[in-house]
């Protein structure tokens, strides 16, 4: 058996490694994605004060700080038996919208678009943000930078610093909005609505008008028929901050719907010997290995998972785009992994429109920011992170110190799906020992669509080449090394 290793994966949030196992004929036998474990984080938190959790957890990883902050705040609400005030709930949701705006913008233009806008067969050195700018123009580039910064500034108005927010406290928020801040958010959100529409326009012009790309999106190796999961409001429309967790099946019908506190009754974690990270699956369906279909409890989260798990978007323009996406791709659910990119843009528009709604809500500058807390205990908090459903679960002792922590991050929820998508893409694209860089990039495309983050990402500057491929023979000997970059 030969092993093909793609390491590190270019244009990803954090470190990862894809290992592709070939059989004697040189065809793909299996593929695994290895994620470095979140070693010791739970222990690091034990014994700390409960109110430190919203400060500490955003530093797990710099990619989803706001989502971790809000999940922690919601978990503390539950652990202290307190409902946040109406104003606080709106402020938190608005803050999450700001984070979705900057995160989705960054992913689409910097990480996802190089594959589509520049083209999957373009030379690796052009398949980056500069290649994208060459195609769409520098003015669009300036708009990208400007609106990414707007999203970040919206979160900063609440949190002090976008990457290390401090505003969420059990029972509410430590800081409200004044009229000047509200006006500034309204202006930025309005501009982001136009920017999101412009981005969908670019997707139309560059991707959807090219039949090859549409065929690629709909092609077999990029299909995965799993369950889908996401938070929905009372009308089953996508919500990033609260509501109930809804699961739909392979035909788009509701399979399950539950409150966040009940997640342990519905979601289980499976362990594999080759990775420290766990795999989540639906408890009532069960774990059947790395396989899709109605008998396998594997589900998808993130932009496409959320859209599939819902019946629409709660804002008018995003809802139109939602319907257009499903009409174009053959109805709900869409099981094409590469449709994550389109779903992400629909969500970008929703985040901007929802931010606009909240910023113009007459109650948003209210001063009822916090309700008094009860006694410390156990709590679960769930929010949607850009990458998917994020679950925090704490046990507090009587002094309000952290006794036990369990975090299920979005990438864990998508972990089994990512491994399967990589395997299927590899099966379709690597045959008879033929491993060239174009093919490997197609494998990476499957992976990148999920925008996986590795919780334990660090930021040291490594000096190696951006991509290295090692080929091992059946005996585990290195027979070939291909380097990219």
């Amino acid at each position: 058996m030969k092993t093909v290793t793609i390491d590190p994966i270019t244009r990803l949030e954090g470190h990862g490694k894809i290992e592709i196992f070939l059989n004697e004929e040189g065809n793909v036998e299996n593929a695994y994605l290895q994620i470095p474990e979140l070693r010791g984080f739970e222990r690091f938190c034990e014994g700390r004060r409960a109110e430190d959790m919203p400060i500490i957890t955003p530093r797990i990883c710099g990619v989803c700080p706001v989502a971790h902050h809000l999940a922690a705040a919601k978990t503390l609400d539950a652990a202290y038996g307190v409902e946040p005030t109406e104003t606080a709930r709106k402020l938190r949701e608005l803050m999450n919208c700001g984070y979705f705006i900057y995160d989705h913008t960054l992913h689409f233009y910097f990480l996802g678009a190089p594959d589509f806008v520049v083209g999957p067969d373009a030379p690796p050195m052009d398949r980056n943000i500069f290649g994208v700018l060459k195609k769409v123009g520098l003015d669009v580039g300036r708009e990208v930078i400007r609106h990414r910064a707007y999203g970040q500034r919206i979160t900063e108005i609440f949190g002090g610093k976008a990457t290390h927010p401090t505003c969420g406290v059990p029972g509410g928020m430590s800081k409200g909005l004044n009229e000047e801040e509200r006006q500034s958010i309204e202006d930025m959100a309005g501009s982001c609505v136009e920017f999101a529409k412009q981005s969908l326009g670019i997707f139309d012009d560059v991707v959807l008008s090219n039949q090859d790309y549409v065929d690629l999106i709909l092609s077999d190796p990029y299909q995965l028929n799993t369950y889908n999961m996401g938070l929905v409001d009372e009308d089953n429309r996508v919500n990033f901050y609260g509501g109930e967790i809804r699961v739909t099946d392979q035909r788009g019908r509701e399979h399950d719907k539950f409150r966040e506190q009940e997640y342990l009754d519905h979601v289980c974690e499976h362990v594999e010997p080759w990775t420290y990270s766990k795999f989540t699956y639906l408890k009532d369906v069960g774990w059947r290995g790395f396989t899709d279909g109605p008998r396998s409890g594997i589900f998808r989260v993130g932009p496409l998972g959320r859209l599939n798990a819902a019946e629409g978007m709660a804002t008018p323009q995003a809802d139109d785009e939602y319907r257009r996406m499903y009409e174009t791709l053959g109805g709900r659910p869409v099981n094409s992994t590469l449709a994550f990119h389109w779903a992400r843009l629909v969500e970008l528009l929703y985040a901007a429109e929802r931010a606009m709604e909240l910023a113009t809500d007459p109650g948003i500058t209210g001063t009822d920011l916090r309700n008094p807390v009860g006694e410390p205990g156990e709590g679960v908090g769930v929010v949607e992170a850009a990458r998917g459903t994020l679950i925090h679960h704490y046990n507090l002792d009587r002094e309000g110190l952290v006794e036990r922590v369990n975090l299920i991050v979005a990438t864990t929820n998508n972990y089994a799906d990512i491994c399967m998508s990589v395997r299927d893409a590899a099966k379709g694209l690597i045959k008879g020992n033929k491993v060239d860089q174009g093919l490997l990039n197609m494998v990476e495309m499957a992976f990148r669509a999920y925008d996986p983050c590795f919780g334990c990402s660090t930021h040291s500057l490594p000096g190696q080449a951006p991509l290295q491929v090692n080929v091992y023979d059946a005996g585990g000997r290195l027979v070939e090394t291909v380097q990219r970059g």
Partner: protein
């Protein structure tokens, strides 16, 4: 000359937080210096740098040499700059190139990177390993002297 010191890194991941430790130390010792913790770096550093004449970025680095080794690199040159690839999607050189392309005239003409060779960026801790800790002290001192601040400080 208006100078900004930027610390990049994750404070919880031991030596990965070296750049942030430098910034926090500077803020305490010399509050008059503009110093920011930009955490994971990325495109937001362009916003932070806007309008400055000089930027000094401090980050941890893993090249396999002796932990605590300090690298000082002039990165204003563009193509001649070493191609560090960051672990975070958009790497530093890409980001700076983007700044020059999209915001010409607004990027600091002088750009320096100070890299501190890390020993442990895997475990969760808010303190650095001893050799990296010593390097943090040295870098703080160097920056204070470089910026013409006091040189009699007690670290």
């Amino acid at each position: 000359m208006k100078t900004l010191v930027m610390g990049v890194g994750n404070l919880l991941r031991r030596d990965d937080g070296a750049g942030v430790h430098v910034v926090n130390r500077l803020k305490r010792l010399a509050p008059q210096i503009d110093a920011v913790d930009v955490a994971m770096g990325g495109v937001e550093i362009l916003e932070a740098m806007r309008g400055y004449d000089r930027v000094i970025m401090v980050d941890s680095i893993t090249t396999g040499t002796e932990p605590g080794t300090i690298y000082r690199v002039n990165i204003a040159g563009g193509e001649e700059a070493p191609r560090f690839s960051s672990s975070h999607g958009v790497d530093l050189v890409t980001t700076l190139e983007l700044g020059r392309m999209l915001m010409p005239g607004e990027m600091p003409p002088e750009q320096f990177l100070i890299g501190i060779e890390a020993e442990d960026t895997v475990n969760f801790s808010v303190s650095c390993t001893p050799r990296v800790e010593a390097a943090v002290d040295r870098v703080v001192k160097d920056i204070l002297i470089f910026l013409g601040q006091r040189n009699d400080f007690d670290l």
